[in-house]
């Protein structure tokens, strides 16, 4: 067991301390939820899978190891659950009414805001075209800026496998974006921070 704050919390949770487990949930729930949400593109399903992931963690508490963090185990479970759900979907994902976002306020004109939102939706649709594991790889590497080792742990493959998936997903996504938006991927004027 790694002697970190998370390791100590896990040891206490394994001895039956529910408050310690709740602290672990509070530490990692946002990341697990975001992972599910980006894969599924559906907030309600992401909430359900996030809760299911922590329930499984509680049921397998004795087998969990904080080496170096339980978040890899959690993300792997969340990833597998998301992939299972995606396979069950017989139709293309639909956007729920709750998920329709309000136009961001700013200096841009309404037309520019609509165009920007449309572009965002199209990019997300392109992401949904990728295979689930490729989607995970590309989101973790480019959006979350995670190292390849971490991606390999979440995907349950080796470093070479993770690199291969990232490489393949990158080219496929660029082709899809180019076909959908009719433009090559160019560096936007301003960059936001990783979530």
């Amino acid at each position: 067991m790694v002697d970190t704050e998370e390791g100590r919390l896990l040891s206490r949770a394994q001895r039956g301390d529910v408050l310690a487990f709740e602290t672990l949930v509070r530490l990692h729930q946002q990341r697990v939820y975001a992972h599910c949400y980006r894969l599924l593109n559906n907030a309600a399903e992401a909430e359900d899978l996030c809760a299911e992931t922590f329930l499984r963690a509680y049921q397998h508490l004795g087998a969990l190891r904080a080496d170096p963090s339980i978040v890899h185990w959690l993300l792997r479970v969340a990833n597998n659950l998301s992939i299972s759900l995606l396979r069950k979907r017989s139709t293309r994902p639909t956007v729920e009414l709750d998920d329709v976002r309000e136009l961001p306020s700013g200096t841009a004109t309404p037309e520019e805001q609509v165009m920007a939102q449309s572009r965002q939706e199209l990019v997300r649709q392109c992401l949904q075209e990728l295979a689930p594991k490729e989607r995970t790889a590309v989101l973790m590497f480019y959006l979350e800026e995670r190292p390849l080792e971490e991606i390999a742990k979440v995907l349950g493959c080796g470093l070479a496998g993770a690199k291969s998936r990232v490489h393949r997903a990158r080219h496929r996504l660029k082709d899809l974006v180019m076909a959908t938006l009719g433009e090559d991927i160019a560096l936007p004027a301003e960059e936001g921070g990783a979530v």
Partner: protein, 225 residues
Amino acid sequence: MTRRDTYEDELRDPGLAALLREAYADDPALEASPGRTERIMRLVLAEGHTRPAPRARVWAPLAWAVGAVASAAAGVALIIMLATPHGAADLLASFKPAAPTPYVTPAPVRHTPRAAGHDTAPAPIPSVDVTNDGPAPTWENAPDDGQPTAPGTNEPAQLAESNTYAAAALYSAGSAATAVGDNKGAYEAYKASYETMPTPDALLASGDALYRLAQDSLDADTPQG
């Protein structure tokens, strides 16, 4: 720079990263939800102990089944071993292939006259001291004494003929022994009969010799001139 860093640098794509960040920027669904932790904990405490754990993989019951069958087989084998009077040694010995029985020439049996009033006694088994050791005597490998074989003295034919008669006699003796219930005597007689039978080579040589004998007789009867 390590090799791992090189890998990652090869894959870096600032344009794609910025596009993805833009796609998820200002998404309210990604904002922290204050009540999520409590919802998760309610589910965990409500179902964490009551709901059965996720179903095991398909190979788990298969492994259990294979293990159960193997254990049952081992148990049966142990019971059989314990039930054998002399234990495993006997059991193992029964699986060893039997060594070939060495060929034993049947002992010559004297012809004794059957006593009157003793018809129930087993019939005497005639025996001949014939062995099939070594190559069967044939026309081709007969000893060459430099003299042509005289008509009527064909050795392979005579030998095969005598062997056939001896085998037939032994077979008859075996039948007789069977009739009076002397199984052991019948076995010995049949065994000696089969061992006395001329080999296929000898039979072929016999046929060849008979042909030559007939040819010689024909030549002798044909008037010359």
